[in-house]
């Protein structure tokens, strides 16, 4: 691994760690601020203010504090199992007229809500300590990894810019040097992803005992979440090596151009000129690793699934782009002169 590049990576990771640490401090402040609202006792207490509401408290053998509320006037029955740090299991039965009109199954992070209609009554089950899909973590990690990848993505151009007399007079081949430098950056991008996941895991720990879901789509999210920033890095690495005199501009315009091309590639119109622009943008977008990212959407059962088809192909293309762009960068690097 290249020492100079590793120093660059280390400095950047230090910055990422500082930013994540600030987020953690904010999370601690938030946790302390909302601590009184995190217990169901608050709204149980409010419900008890209504006339006719009957509340029963029971402690189950496992320590769970069960609260049962009956409001005959509203035909509402609620059972709250408060497991403290382990989350809550809430079952509310109420008239369908007041509840959601349709069956629904919603997962948001660790909160799972299942609503089922049974005649005139609707039962809503809320679990606040479900398994958190890794895809949420990977989404955050990807944002950080893409930013880190963008910052790091001119390693060879930075060497060309005034340091070739050092780098090219070392007793290693140019290819080996380039692989070492790219290896350091790849390690840095992956480390930034891991740091982000860790930071947000700690954030979640402040509020609940998190369980991570690595099954199904989540394993794919991890694979795509690592492959996409690496392919993006390799693309910019190739671009900055070829356009090394203006590598700063390449990095600066990378995101605006990628977003513009992405937006233009999805517009749909009958206008001939706009259609031509769309076609050009679509063609260009095929070179952009970001265009192969699949977005996850909940299915009818509340489970997340990829909207894009053929995940394996998309992942393969990301890996291919990483290798192809990396090879392009190295090919150019072999020909640079001081």
């Amino acid at each position: 691994m290249n020492y100079v590049e590793w120093l660059r990576v280390r400095n950047l990771l230090r910055l990422v760690a500082i930013i994540l640490a600030i987020l953690l401090v904010l999370a601690v402040v938030l946790r302390i601020s909302v601590s009184r609202y995190m217990s169901p006792d608050v709204w149980v207490h409010q419900a008890m203010m209504h006339p006719g509401v009957k509340v029963t408290h029971v402690t189950l053998p496992d320590g769970t504090k069960r609260t049962i509320m009956d409001d005959p006037s509203q035909s509402t029955h609620a059972m709250i199992d408060d497991r403290g740090y382990g989350g809550s299991h809430i079952v509310i039965t109420e008239p369908s007229s007041r509840a959601h009109k349709e069956n629904s199954n919603v997962n948001v992070g660790s909160i799972h809500v299942i609503e089922s209609q049974n005649g005139a009554m609707t039962t809503t089950v809320v679990d606040t300590n479900g398994a958190v899909p890794m895809i949420y973590y990977m989404l955050l990690a990807d944002i950080v990894a893409l930013i880190v990848a963008t910052i790091l993505a001119a390693p060879l151009a930075r060497e060309i810019d005034g340091h070739l007399e050092i780098t090219l007079t070392k007793p290693i081949s140019r290819v080996r040097f380039a692989l070492g430098i790219i290896g350091a950056d790849v390690a840095g991008i992956i480390a930034a992803s891991i740091l982000t996941v860790l930071a947000f895991y700690i954030c979640q720990l402040l509020f609940e005992s998190p369980r991570l879901d690595f099954s199904g789509i989540n394993a794919r999210a991890i694979a795509m979440g690592l492959a996409c920033p690496l392919a993006w890095y390799a693309m910019l690495c190739a671009a900055t090596t070829w356009l090394h005199r203006s590598y700063g501009a390449v990095l600066g315009f990378a995101w605006p151009v990628a977003i513009l091309v992405g937006v233009l590639s999805i517009i749909s119109t009958n206008n001939v000129v706009a259609l031509f622009v769309h076609d050009v943008a679509w063609t260009l977008s095929r070179l952009d690793p970001l265009s192969y990212v699949s977005f996850a959407e909940p299915d009818g059962h509340g489970l997340l699934t990829y909207s894009g088809s053929n995940f394996a192909l998309r992942l393969s293309i990301q890996l291919f782009l990483f290798v192809a762009y990396g090879a392009l960068a190295i090919w150019k690097w072999q020909r640079v002169e001081a």
Binding site: L7, N11, L164, E165, T169, P171, I172, A338
Partner: protein
């Protein structure tokens, strides 16, 4: 490391030759000075020697073998401008070199940095131009390389440190290593180099041992009674490299037989004739810029 052989080296930039058919053999265990005016092709030659620039023609061999990455274990290079990483400390540069070169001696580097009064904890961006040069020099001389290529190594250094660098170079040669360096400070070259080559417009115009060049070359100066004098073919003598004529005075650069040429000048009517020794600066100027050397136009007799 012993002999470096440069054969018919050519390097074109946009069709314009920076080095044009340059050939040279640099023997082992020597301090070799490469001289030339700005744009003569000295730095380009160094870059071609180190594969930092790809030659357009010709070849360079180290001990008869072409340059391969492993050869750099034995070569230390100090470029003419700072190539340090501004954001890295001097210590980090030392560590970088330690990781790259098996023969590097970090303790020696720290010792040399101390001799140059460089604080190794400082970042490169906080160093003056001279201090940056000193860092590169210190690291290069701690490499235990058998060949040091130094492109204007004293640039930006104060006179004390310049003298120190020259001593280091001479010490390296004494240890059996080779030092090739370029400099515009001809006095330094004269002090340190055993052998020199002079480049002009990409070509080799002069090469040899400093002592030989100085011993062989003399100026024979003649003063004639009036401006209408002839040299009787003296300027066409093979030993006369140049003839410079200013009104009643003629100055001949001779490569051998100075006394004989002086006698011939007297015979041609010169009322005053003297033979002058040349220093390296004179030799250099006669090689690359005779007009500057004599402040007049060269008039080689036809």
């Amino acid at each position: 490391m012993s002999t470096i052989t440069i054969s018919n080296l050519r390097k074109l930039y946009g069709g314009v030759p920076a080095v044009d058919g340059f050939s040279l053999e640099i023997p082992e265990s020597t301090v070799f000075g490469l001289l030339g005016p700005n744009g003569a092709g000295k730095t380009t030659t160094f870059k071609c020697m180190l594969d930092l620039a790809r030659p357009s023609g010709g070849e360079i061999r180290y001990d008869g073998k072409p340059l391969v990455p492993e050869t750099f274990e034995r070569i230390a290079y100090v470029p003419e401008r700072s190539v340090l990483y501004d954001w890295m400390t001097v210590n980090e540069h030392v560590e970088m070199t330690r990781r790259a070169f098996a023969s590097f001696d970090p303790a020696r580097a720290v010792e040399l940095l101390g001799q140059f009064n460089v604080d190794p904890r400082k970042r490169a961006r906080a160093l003056s131009k001279g201090m940056r040069t000193a860092v590169m020099i210190a690291i290069a001389f701690a490499r235990n390389a058998t060949l040091l290529i130094l492109d204007e190594p004293t640039s930006g250094l104060d006179p004390v440190n310049q003298r120190h660098v020259l001593s280091l170079m001479i010490n390296e040669a004494a240890k059996g290593n080779s030092v090739i360096f370029s400099s515009h400070q001809i006095g330094q070259v004269e002090r340190a180099a055993e052998r020199i080559a002079v480049m002009d417009r990409g070509r080799l115009v002069l090469e040899g041992l400093v002592d030989d060049l100085k011993a062989d070359r003399k100026i024979v100066e003649g003063i004639f009674p009036d401006v209408t004098f002839t040299l009787d073919g003296i300027a066409n003598d093979a030993r006369v490299a140049r003839a410079d004529r200013t009104e009643r005075i003629v100055r001949l650069l001779v490569t051998a037989g100075a006394d004989e040429i002086a006698a011939r000048l007297s015979g041609a009517g010169a009322v005053g004739v003297r033979v002058l020794d040349l220093n390296l600066e004179d030799i250099f100027l006669y090689a690359v810029a005779p007009a500057t050397a004599t402040t007049d136009v060269v008039v080689k007799e036809s």
